[in-house]
Amino acid sequence: MAEHHTASDCKHKASSNAGGSVSGNGRHSSPAGCGGSGGGLSGGLTQPAGWQSLLSFTILFLAWLAGFSSRLFAVIRFESIIHEFDPWFNYRSTHHLSTNGFYEFLNWFDERAWYPLGRIVGGTVYPGLMVTAGLIHYILNLLHVTVHIRDVCVFLAPVFSGLTAVSTFLLTRELWNQGAGLLAACFIAIVPGYISRSVAGSFDNEGIAIFALQFTYYLWVKSVKTGSVFWTIGCCLSYFYMVSAWGGYVFIINLIPLHVFVLLLMQRFSRRLYIAYSTFYIVGLVLSMQIPFVGFQPIRTSEHMAAAGVFALLQAYAFLQYLKDRLTRQEFQTLFFLGVSLAAGVVFLTVIYLTYTGEYAKIHIPIIASVSEHQPTTWVSFFFDLHILVCTFPAGLWFCIKNINDERVFVALYAISAVYFAGVMVRLMLTLTPVVCMLSAIAFSSVFEHYLGDDMKRENPPAEDSSDEDDKRNQGNLYDKAGKVRKHVSEQDRPEEGLGPNIKSIVTMLMLMLLMMFAVHCTWVTSNAYSSPSVVLASYNHDGSRNILDDFREAYYWLRQNTDEHARVMSWWDYGYQIAGMANRTTLVDNNTWNNSHIALVGKAMSSNESAAYEIMKSLDVDYVLIIFGGVIGYSGDDINKFLWMVRIAEGEHPKDIRESDYFTPQGEFRVDKAGSPTLLNCLMYKMSYYRFGEMQLDFRTPPGFDRTRNAEIGNKDIRLKHLEEAFTSEHWLVRIYRVKKQENRQALDHKLRNIAAKQKYTSKKVLPSRFH
């Protein structure tokens, strides 16, 4: 029944196309062949296919180049340096991998993190990124191209962005046509939503994962179209790479079953779908379980259950199809199908419901709420990251749904689910960006293909259109488009009444201007918002000249060279990876926030008064304390501004000792000046931040001890430290390091004991030392 339906659907479409071409009115119910760039050229050239592929190749190459170079702002402005926080850990593990080998890396137990617990690194990371970088480094060295592993790491993400552009091109070509594919490749090469995670130096999982995501989707669409095991195995391998690279693979393993499920509901079941999904699920499952960090999760956790449910459903459905050929009681079959699909739907919904209520609970743990990426998204962020694409991609979605087929169902589901997740969490804008690029490209290309060419030459598009439908029926020789284009080139040459050249050129120009604005916006955003390494800061003077503030590295190198090799450094968890990577010292907590109570202990030490903090620091063997202080230069990302999160996280674990309300004024304000709460003014973080700051007058208009970040004169200028001493303060006071004093050799004897000692002089000399040591 379903087979029959699809077949009739195809026939219907084909006939409507035929009608369109007869009337010559350009009525496309399906995509036109070569849009934008290809369409105009192919008419007069003798070898249009050759030209087309040359042109596509050139455009793709240029897109790669543009994408690569627009990611280099940071390298040009600063230097070839690893950015931010997580990349430092990835770099450190890649370094470990390339020096000690793969198996050593898998078994690596890092005793320099999470002192005194340590961390099993091999089993708690997605190794894809490190292995990719290590492999490239290895191959380059085999070829005697000697590069440092750091340079491989820095330039990995820009190179992979080119691969992303190529795979986006391939996917969009499968969904619509070549012109849209080229536009999509250009969009994804420069769109800020993706650049934000893939600038040079941002050596993070997402950089390679988006490529893996797009490529997996391309291969999936391909395998649904062809039903060949070859493409499906390719899809599984790509999925395996994705699993090894990023936890976002869960998106794939839910979206593909959703696609299959919706196709079943739409009665678009086919053998191709059956082969593709059955192969994908089994092989993909086995492959994904090979990653140590994933392990048995795919058969245990709820977010993978939807895939299993759909697999079972597909088998049941196929079995019913088989039975239907043998039996004739059709009514009963239909009823049975309804029952099965309803049950599966209920299971599916329940699983999703459970998953997201779980997610919801997670959001309310302070440590997760504290990370700014786990916030919902404002419309400004959407516009900032996508610009014109955010308004045009619904149009692409409209065209896709109006001309629906198997793979466009996929892209519609992709768009709807990704836009939902991006709305919930800023961070997931990353998964939305590719589909926005594809759909916007479809929207733009379907406008351009009608407005760019002359009225006279507008007849070729429908030709390939029907060839697309041909593809569907004889699945054997599918992707030989080049030949087909030639076949239809000189088919029709009929004049028609058009919109006239004036309107067309005006529309074309305005649309091109919009795209130009998009390009300018992308470059501006990349340059201003996403190209800061955040390890090195820059400030600009009034005349536009640039100052480099290199305080972080100054301080980390100081630690590296002036402290004991095994010294333990306490800092807030944000800086753990950087201390490990740059200073090579043991840290207590870092950005891998796996142990909340340990972090809470550090937060408690920071927010208690000095003597209470000293007890905690003693019990944790802390030698140095490192804090970030932005009051001198007005850097807002410093520890005082993060301080309330420290208090909250500490309060979550130690509600008896730390209370958030103690750090506010009675009016409920958080202020550092004289009106601030006394608990705040005497806690360790405050004291370390403002130690000796009261003596410092920054300029003549403000009193001494004026904090530029919070625009306030500090309330406690006479800070004395008892158990700590200042060890290092960087040039702009951005990083301050304190040494924790060791306990004094002998505890001071109290008065009474000394009197007794005075009475029995000769005995006490021998007794006392042995008693007190």
Binding site: G26, R27, D86, R197, S372, E373, Q375, P376, T378, W379, V380, F383, F384, I388, C391, T392, F393, P394, A395, L397, W398, F399, I401, K402, A415, I416, V419, Y420, G423, V447, G498, G500, I503, V507, L514, V520, W524, N528, Y530, S532, A538, S539, Y540, N541, G544, W573, D574, N591, G630, G634, S636, G637, N641, P655, P666, Q667, G668, F670, R708, R710
Partner: protein, 353 residues
């Protein structure tokens, strides 16, 4: 002499007896009070007090139980919206305690409505509602026994934490499960199912692409205009400046938004989308040329006009856009680990040279 002795003896006896007697009396009074409180609590998780009851049970000294009292004004004519919300949360807390396994007579929950016990408000010198005060078992309420409503909000969990703080009674807040969501979903499904059943001979509408495309577009537009942010953060619809009476619909910062603003953005996005669709339709439909030209011009007009308006709103919110080089480093964090800044949105640098 004897007389005097007698008096002394009597006095001695009475002095000795009086405390014992008083003790006994106190105990009976106390147990009476406790049983009274227990009885009321068994009827209602939150005891309603008036002036007389308040003086007798809370104010009068012999007491070995803490009482948390919400001072509120729930009568409709008082128009206290916050009181109602706070009351709901308070009821949740009190019920969680009332039906928990750890329920004892160490602590009671009560409330005083302004219209029933305005003398209590006067007595305590209170002029704002709702207020939560803990009357500890011993002594008078201290400063910390008044709950800081402005700072901590009135969520039941926060109240429970405060109660645990003040009285050492730990209450696990159990919210009655919200059946509204699943119920609505069930109703919707039933509606769709019945519709499908009624029209089972004519299911064409399910295959209508326009309906599906339109609903998908609605969902996408709702999401991209930041309605999810509104749902989670609950911003005001618009801001009215109390001094000038001017209403601003656009939030000045790029980190926040008003509801009105998102509706405007939704409209603009939809208009641009419509423009693109019109452009496409103008080129492909089989209407006569005049109509198609009008469609085409309308389409490009919509796209350009609404996009430029969108851009200008964005520029108003995102200070320093487009080519100003005032901001050097925008603190949009794309690292795994930066915190939202409570104080500034963008870092500023002043380097005195």
């Amino acid at each position: 002499m004897f007389y005097k002795l007698l008096i002394v003896v009597f006095l001695a006896v009475s002095l000795q007896g009086a405390p014992a007697d008083g003790q006994k009396k106190k105990e009976t009074l106390l147990s009476e009070k406790v049983s009274q409180m227990m009885e009321w609590t068994s009827k209602r998780a939150v005891i309603r007090l008036n002036g007389e009851k308040f003086r007798r049970l809370i104010r009068a000294p012999p007491r070995n139980y803490s009482v948390i009292i919400m001072f509120t004004a729930l009568q409709p004519q008082r128009q206290c919206g916050v009181c109602k919300q706070a009351d709901e949360e308070y009821q949740i807390l009190a019920n969680s305690w009332r039906y928990s396994n750890a329920f004892t007579n160490r602590i009671f929950f009560a409330m005083v409505d302004f219209d029933e016990g305005s003398d209590v408000f006067q007595m305590l010198n209170m002029n704002s509602a709702p207020t939560f005060i803990n009357f500890p078992a011993k002594g008078k309420p201290k400063r910390a026994d008044t709950y800081e409503l402005q700072v901590r909000g009135f969520a039941a969990e926060q109240l429970a934490r405060w109660v645990a703080d003040r009285t050492d009674v730990h209450i696990r807040v159990i919210r009655p499960p919200n059946y509204a969501g699943p119920l609505m979903l069930g109703l919707l499904l039933a509606f769709i199912g019945s519709l499908a059943y009624v029209r089972r001979n004519n299911l064409e509408f399910l295959f209508n692409k326009n309906v599906w495309a339109f609903s998908a577009l609605c969902f996408v537009l709702i999401m991209t205009s930041g309605q999810m942010w509104n749902h989670i953060r609950g911003p005001p619809y618009a801001h009215k400046n109390p001094n000038t009476g001017q209403v601003s619909y656009i939030h000045g910062s790029s980190q926040a938004q008003f509801v009105a603003e998102t509706h405007i953005v939704l409209l603009f996005n939809a208009a641009v989308t419509l423009g693109i669709v019109l452009l496409h339709e103008a080129a492909t439909s089989d209407l006569d040329v005049g109509k198609r030209k009008i469609m085409c011009v309308a389409g490009i007009g919509l796209v350009v006009l609404f996009f430029s308006w969108l851009l200008s709103i964005f520029r108003a919110k995102y200070h320093g856009y487009p080519y100003s080089h005032q901001i050097q480093s925008v603190s949009r964090s794309n690292g795994h680990c930066s915190h939202p800044d409570p104080v500034h949105i963008q870092p500023r640098w002043w380097i005195s040279t």
